[in-house]
Amino acid sequence: MKQVSKNRRFSTSDYLIHGALGVIVILMILPFWHEIVKSLSAPGNVNAGQVTLWPVNPTLGNYVYYYRVHLTPLLRAFGVTLWTTVVGTLWSVFFSAMTAYPVARGKHHFKAAGLIMGLAVFSIVFTPPIIPYFLTIRGYGLLNTGWALIIPHTIVAFHMIIIVVFFREIPEEIFDSCRMDGAGEFRVFLQIVLPLSKAVLATVAIFSTILFWNMFLHAVLFISDPRQQPIQIFVRSVLSGGGDAARTAGGTFDPFAESESIKSALVILTILPIAVVYPFLQKYFAKGIMVGSIK
């Protein structure tokens, strides 16, 4: 942020502040580091409790294990998540923006603005009750389809409110001049307002991407078919099972199958896609929550 004091010399309190934050940063990083180190160590050493902060007998075997044993379900789950994330993000951002537009045009043009905002606040305060929610989605015939994850997030109220706040900043003259040119409201929305709002749409798209990529509860409730399960459910089922002991029963002993080290490797594999796009995420999302918190 900004510098409060121009004084460049470190005082005692500066050392205390840097020290405290340093400890906090170490506590934030340590679990990741420990996990990376375990995922790169030999399974025997990990299970014997010999691995803490540096790899012992370094190996990539823990990662190769998923290539050998779980490749098909891993890729399938990855594919499901990729599909729901891409389609769901486009779907959700488009409908959130389209609903936000008339609301932002104001009471003079659109008298139901209060109603839509009321519904948005209502849906933030009241999360759907689990059992009737399940029965409703089941009634629509969406169980075990990707749409069961996407349709319930057609409009994310928080995202819609962020977009409304942003649209309201667009000067009225732009709308007036478009009207003179004879453009309908929908064309103004598509061709003028959306391109003007790239910054806020990017922010909302990032929130949606994270939402769909990490989706868990909705998948637990609505997806029981293993072939339709997204990545988080697949990862959870591998991690919560007591290793892959059953595989050893096939005859050949696999030192990786019963090791804790493969769990670490899977955790790192799951973090990796987020870590790769993280610098990009960080640029946009801070702006987003500040816009959202104004209203």
Binding site: V4, N47, L119, F126, I130
Partner: protein, 314 residues
């Protein structure tokens, strides 16, 4: 607020009609959104009527028999209900009392840091867990605290302490849930406070420094009073979320050994309602949970309006 004679209802309706005809497209544009809110957000809430039925999934809402308040009576007579209620309330309480000040402290620390590079690095480290799922974060904690392969227990053993199976003993569960929640969200939550702090006029600090004020005096006399409105809003929001512990975190971290302290409303409703098929009673329990949540929001808002002259909705 303008005070003017209210126009007649007939006039209002005809002006609404004019407005709709004049801005047809705007009204058409919200139709998908309206359908969504009704079909996905409101109908499930109306579907809660099965709490007053003995619901059978084969007969549906229309065919299932009505049983009055029987499900609610059964709920209050059932001892497990109180366990779930107390777990939910306790975890919510720890979150608010222990978790609420942490992001404020983080924001104050981050704001005082003089090295920009270190500040950026610390922010990156603090925000990262927000983007990860509970499946991943829960497993990070379970792996780091694993009785034989986790770093915490390896270090304990080196100091001659017996290893502790943290995730296998009920007495640790609330602490683990609270700590991991703070670890995941405190950085993210600090952004809002950091933004609020950046609105403070620097000349106030300079004036205070000339008067010989130390850093603590500046924090308590300048920064905190100025960002107090933001703190109040965040407090009200967090009280509103009191009952929403979140299914993901508990479900991922729970195992049968710690169920006595781990089970919250959402995990209980899922397990007993969906997995075991007891739809009606768990819907009643869900209604009770929503009711408590609503009372907390309204109560918090009322107290804040009354004492601080400032609520959530205005």
């Amino acid at each position: 607020m303008r005070t003017r004679n209210k126009p007649s209802i007939a006039f209002q309706l005809s002006s609404l009609k004019d407005n709709i005809l004049h801005n047809k497209v705007l009204y058409l544009m919200v139709i998908p959104g309206l359908v969504f809110f009704v079909m996905i957000r409101i109908i499930p809430i109306l579907g809660s009527v099965i709490a007053w039925q003995r619901y059978s999934i084969f007969r549906g809402i229309l065919g299932s028999p009505w049983v009055g308040w029987a499900n609610f009576r059964e709920m209050f007579a059932y001892e497990g209900f109180y366990r779930v209620l107390s777990n939910t309330m306790l975890i919510g309480f720890y979150r608010v009392v222990i978790g609420f000040p942490v992001p404020i402290i983080l924001a104050l620390l981050l704001n005082e840091v003089k090295s920009i590079k270190f500040q950026k690095f610390a922010q990156s480290a603090l925000y990262l867990p927000y983007f990860l799922s509970w499946v991943v974060v829960g497993q990070l904690f379970m792996n780091a605290l694993h009785p034989s392969t986790g770093i915490v227990n390896i270090l304990l053993t080196r100091f001659g302490v017996e290893p502790v199976f943290f995730f296998g003993q009920p007495q640790y569960f609330h602490a683990l849930v609270t700590i991991s929640y703070i670890w995941k969200f405190a950085g993210y939550q600090s952004i809002i406070y950091l933004a609020a702090i950046s609105t403070v006029d620097p000349s106030l600090y300079e004036a205070a420094e000339i008067d010989g004020a130390g850093p603590l005096v500046k924090i308590f006399r300048i920064t905190l009073p100025i960002i107090a409105p933001v703190i109040i809003i965040m407090m009200l929001l967090s009280i509103g979320q009191f009952m929403e512990i979140g299914f993901d975190q508990i479900y991922v971290m729970m195992n049968p050994l710690v169920r006595s302290t781990a089970d919250i409303f959402d995990t209980y409703i899922y397990r007993v309602g969906l997995v075991n098929g007891r739809f009606s009673i768990t819907t009643a329990i869900g209604l009770f949970k929503s009711l408590v949540g609503l009372v907390l929001i309204m109560g918090g808002n009322f107290i804040s309006q009354k004492w601080l002259g400032r609520g959530l909705f205005r």
